[in-house]
């Protein structure tokens, strides 16, 4: 090894490091928020999130920002869908960018890794989209809060509908990772409580984004269930829906789809969107409360595009952060943690509360049936379910969540 070689490497490294460290400094009185999401791994789900988030920042800053005139400034990064990358970015955001908290993310494992980081380093993390129940229960901690209705909440909403259908022979298909496992477990737990004599005749576990639609559909058909509970999403769902309908798998069966009514999932299916599936989702085109109409119109005016579920989550994320900062009257982590506990705020889908007991927000979801209209999948016969009604009792939560 030549030393010159080392020095060349070192000089090059030092140059890069200087360039990286010498990030432009911004107005000193802004409040910096670190937000990240899987923008390259799952852009269809996360780009609308960012658009919603940015819209909220514009709204808040237009009204004079927070804490009496301090503007909100978002440092945005791509977590690449990798937990270790996300942790590294969080470290960088706190130490280099000086953010007051981090928020965002979609994948459950990314969220769980950041929650662990938040606990270790005593920094605040608001998980926007990760659904894992463990995030607020088994692995919940003082420094982690979550906005979106969890896997358990949405599965419970669907289980309630499932009980009404009268079907007894159920089959499940879910991606083989935490989200899928939890979604099936929660559904089984709630449905069995409501209808003790249901039986589960088949469980299929395709690896995430590696589904073999044909083989899975045939395996499910072979078990001859009355009803199927589907948790697959993204390209997996498209393949499963197509191969299943080709093989008449869905004919005469009750079909349930977790998250299946969200535009992110329905729209790519176009006219092949499944019909008559009971789903949770987001019928942005039909929600006519004044709060939501205002949000929708502002979004459409700003972007020339309609909001997705992610847009709503992004928007509510930033509203929550601003509300917490106002309530805390400070940007100190401990003050913000206390402010988030029991924080109430108005959102386009109504008032939500961050529960002090487990740091889960009560943001709800829309439950309805899918239909195809004008060559596009939509939700019909939907109702909004308040998240607060689908959470276990306080005693159960205390048993699940480690004491602080």
């Amino acid at each position: 090894m030549t030393i010159r070689t080392i020095f060349t490497g070192l000089a090059l490294g030092a140059a890069l490091l200087t360039a990286a460290i010498a990030a432009p400094s911004h107005a000193a009185d802004s409040v910096k928020i670190g937000d990240m999401n899987s923008y390259t791994r799952l852009p269809a789900f996360t780009v609308p999130y960012k658009m919603g988030l940015d819209l909220a920042v514009e709204h808040i800053n237009a009204k004079g920002g927070v804490l009496g005139g301090r503007m909100i400034e978002v440092v945005s990064r791509d977590d690449l869908g990798k937990p270790d990358e996300a942790v590294k970015i969080a470290e960088e955001m706190f130490s280099r960018d000086g953010v007051v908290l981090v928020s965002g993310n979609l994948f459950s494992h990314v969220g769980l890794a950041l929650a662990s980081y938040a606990k270790q380093k005593k920094k605040l993390y608001l998980a926007s989209e990760p659904l894992a129940d463990a995030l607020v229960w088994e692995k919940g901690n003082r420094y982690t809060f979550r906005l979106r209705p969890s896997t358990y909440m949405q599965a419970a909403m669907l289980a309630e509908e499932a009980a009404k259908t009268g079907a007894k022979r159920w089959a499940t298909i879910a991606p083989n990772y935490a989200y899928g496992k939890e979604a099936v477990a929660a559904f089984k737990q709630v449905l069995t409580k409501l209808v003790p004599d249901v039986e589960f005749v088949a469980e299929q576990w395709p690896a995430l984004f590696k589904i073999d639609g044909a083989a899975e559909a045939q395996a499910l058909a072979a078990a001859n269930p009355e009803a199927i509970y589907n948790v697959t999403f993204g390209s997996d769902l498209a393949k499963f829906a197509r191969e299943g309908s080709l093989r008449n798998l869905f004919d005469g069966k009750t079909m349930l789809g977790l998250l299946g009514g969200e535009p992110e999932y329905l729209d790519p299916l176009k006219d092949e969107a499944p019909e008559g599936w009971i789903v949770t989702g987001y019928p942005w085109y039909a929600i006519e409360t004044p709060e939501h109409t205002a949000f929708k119109e502002a979004y459409e005016k700003r972007y020339g595009d309609y909001p997705r579920n992610g847009s709503l989550v992004g928007y509510n994320t930033m509203l929550s952060i601003a509300a917490a900062i106002e309530k805390a009257g400070s940007t100190e982590t401990e003050a913000l943690v206390e402010a988030f506990k029991g924080l109430k705020l108005a959102t386009p889908v109504g008032e939500i509360t961050y529960r002090a007991i487990d740091h889960q927000s009560t943001m709800g979801a829309f439950v309805g049936k899918t239909a195809v209209k004008d060559g596009k999948g939509i939700m019909v016969d939907w109702t909004y379910r308040d998240g607060a009604d689908y959470l276990p009792s306080d005693d159960e939560v205390r048993a699940l969540r480690p004491a602080e």
């Binding site: 030393i3 269809a44 280099r96 890794a113 270790q120 299929q204 576990w205 395996a219 790519p268």
Partner: protein, 613 residues
């Protein structure tokens, strides 16, 4: 019975796209010896091009025309890559091109995102073939039957091309001995370009033909890559017929896996691969490589020499600089420096077996991730303290290296590389699907250092001491009798034997050393991140190590260190920008083109010192 037939047919239909991709990969490897990591990207491009063509072409005829059009378009793109980038690298150390193809993967990812947008595109159904027919009382889609027919037709076409045309004879000749083909006055670059075009077109065709069964999305590229490698290796590198048999085998195993072992679908493929390779080390239809001569990494022109006193002093200065970094750098500089030390150790451990031993591993992540998981599992299930876990990690890495080496060292060159990849993937799929123990995709979290080492500065010093110490030890070993024996075995196996060196034993020992160090890197990595995920074992991690080694320079001991520093900083610097993958990809390609001997080699040249040590 009906169900079994239906599953079998579904498996055969799946085999079609896989065969098309794998046959192209195999063909390109056979002739040009390029391990084309960008082959999955070509497949993805085929899907997107086909999708776009289908917006304009309708009807049954239009569908097949669109598929062919996509194949030609992708073939032309492949040609472009070959002419602009790879052609300039044929004289570089063998396997160096894989770094360039990795750059192409990144570039294609971002270009596709720019051109087609982020949303998943659902492929249209094939016109005229959009229903199912009943066979044995089970509905079987017509398009599946079409695919089952297409694959053998393509195989037939390739067979005719290979056996009945002059071009085919040349391709086969080049597969056997390309130097001889060149010596006979055949225009090699024309032949290489033609093969690259054909291979890329086959991948593109595969991508377009799977549209009615799936669609186009941005995960297709890396998603098909691992199965395609598996198929090529099982079939035998360079064998088209082998690729067909292997594609059918893997696809059928998969569909029955879905039926009987629904939670272990990923593991199966690699188990089959490992089993086949144990029985037939060169795949079902592969042949042992003709030249058992110099290893693929190439023999350096000048042997390594220990540092002179001046250089030693300068190295000490560098260590001193790193030691005072906490005083002069920011918190984040420490985070980056910790990462760099860990990755430098990881890269140096690969470099040790790759450069000194001529043992090229495509699955070095197995040892890194093995160490990482060993530490994390110990902490999670036995509440092992960090100090003990950090001892366990290198032990696990070394032990794994021993096990893998025991199986793989019977092979050489690219077969050895592929078998290591198989073992790494086997471990990865275990970590991924053995959810009860490893947490699957969700990984193991909450693995933080002991109280005394939990501050960023203390952990940095710990990493620097252990990682730096390990790197120095690797350097020391390189200049020890063991290192000389290892290099002797690499440069001339026969002479080494005659000199009384037990070649296999020396190589196995080198792998164990390498594994120990990679395991230590994995252990340090876990405690710096507080968690471990299957990504510690995935292909991309192995690629990272290879890229760091090649980018830095294979022939210099400093190479992996320079490579690790440059790649980490480049990534950190670029990842804040919108199209960072495009830029990183272009940067990697540019470095590869400017410095085919790696950055350390380039630096050595620029500074006027010709021997690269």
């Amino acid at each position: 019975m009906g169900l079994l037939v239906a599953q079998l047919l579904a498996g055969l239909a799946n085999a079609a796209a896989l065969f098309l991709v794998a046959s192209g990969l195999s063909l390109i490897f056979g002739v040009t010896r390029i391990v084309n990591f960008a082959h999955g990207s070509l497949y993805m491009l085929g899907a997107y091009c086909g999708y776009t063509a289908l917006q304009y072409l309708t009807g049954p005829l239009g569908f097949w025309a669109a598929a062919l059009g996509a194949a030609v378009a992708v073939g032309l793109f492949g040609l472009l890559v070959e002419c602009l980038i790879l052609r300039r690298l044929y004289k570089a150390p063998e396997l160096f091109q894989l770094v360039a193809t990795f750059g192409v993967v990144l570039v294609v990812q971002d270009l596709t995102l720019m051109l087609w947008g982020p949303e998943d595109l659902l492929g249209p159904r094939a016109p005229g073939l959009d229903r199912a027919v009943m066979l044995f009382g089970q509905p079987v889609p017509e398009y599946d039957l079409a695919l089952i027919t297409v694959a053998p037709l393509v195989l037939l076409g390739l067979w005719l091309l290979m056996t009945k045309t002059r071009a085919g004879i040349l391709i086969r000749a080049a597969t056997q001995d390309r130097e001889m083909v060149g010596a006979l006055g055949i225009n090699q670059s024309l032949l290489f370009s033609g093969v690259f075009f054909l291979g890329a077109a086959l991948a593109g065709l595969g991508g377009a033909l799977q549209l009615p069964k799936g669609g186009a999305d941005l995960t297709l590229d890396l998603g098909i890559l691992a199965p395609a490698f598996v198929v090529v290796v099982i079939g035998g590198m360079g064998s088209i017929g082998g690729a067909f048999v292997a594609a059918v085998l893997i696809s059928v195993v998969n569909v029955f896996g879905v039926l009987y072992l629904p939670e272990s679908t990923l593991v199966l493929m690699y188990v089959v691969m490992a089993l086949v390779l144990l029985v037939r080390p060169h795949g079902l239809f592969g042949r042992a490589e003709l030249q058992a001569g110099p290893p693929a990494a190439g023999v350096p022109d000048r042997p390594l020499a220990p540092l002179g006193p001046r250089w030693r002093a300068a190295a000490l200065a560098l260590i001193g600089l790193l030691a005072v970094l906490p005083l002069i750098g920011s918190d984040f500089a420490l985070v980056l420096a910790t990462d760099i030390v860990v990755l430098a150790l990881f890269a140096a451990s690969l470099h040790f077996m790759l450069s000194l031993g001529g043992l090229i591993s495509f699955g070095h992540a197995a040892l890194f991730g093995g160490g990482a998981y060993a530490a994390a599992l110990a902490v999670t299930y036995a509440e092992t303290p960090m100090e003990l876990a950090l001892l366990l990690a290198p032990l696990a890495g070394g032990w794994l290296a021993f096990a893998i080496g025991w199986f793989c060292l019977r092979l050489t060159g690219v077969y050895f590389a592929m078998l290591t990849l198989a073992f790494a993937q086997l471990l990865w799929s275990l970590a991924f699907q053995w959810t009860e123990v490893t947490g699957g995709d969700d990984g193991l979290i909450g693995i933080w250092p002991s109280e005394w080492a939990s501050g960023g500065t203390v952990y940095y010093y710990l990493t620097l001491a252990l990682g730096g110490g390990a790197i120095l030890m690797l350097r020391h070993l390189a200049h020890s009798p063991f290192g000389y024996a290892l290099r002797a075995a690499r440069d001339s196996e026969k002479r080494a034997r005659v000199s009384g060196i037990h070649v296999q034993r020396v190589r196995l020992a080198a792998m164990v050393v390498s594994g120990t160090m990679a395991g230590l890197a994995g252990g340090l990595f876990v405690f710096s991140k507080g968690s471990v995920f299957p990504s510690a074992l995935e292909i991309a991690r192995s690629f990272d190590a290879l890229i760091m080694v090649f980018l830095g320079g294979v022939d210099a001991l400093a190479g992996p260190l320079v490579g690790a520093a440059v790649l980490t900083l480049l990534q950190d610097w670029l990842s804040r920008l919108e199209s960072w993958r495009l830029l990183l990809g272009l940067a990697v390609i540019a470095i590869v083109l400017v410095a085919p001997t790696g950055l350390a080699g380039l630096a050595g040249r620029l500074l006027g010192r010709r021997e690269v040590t």
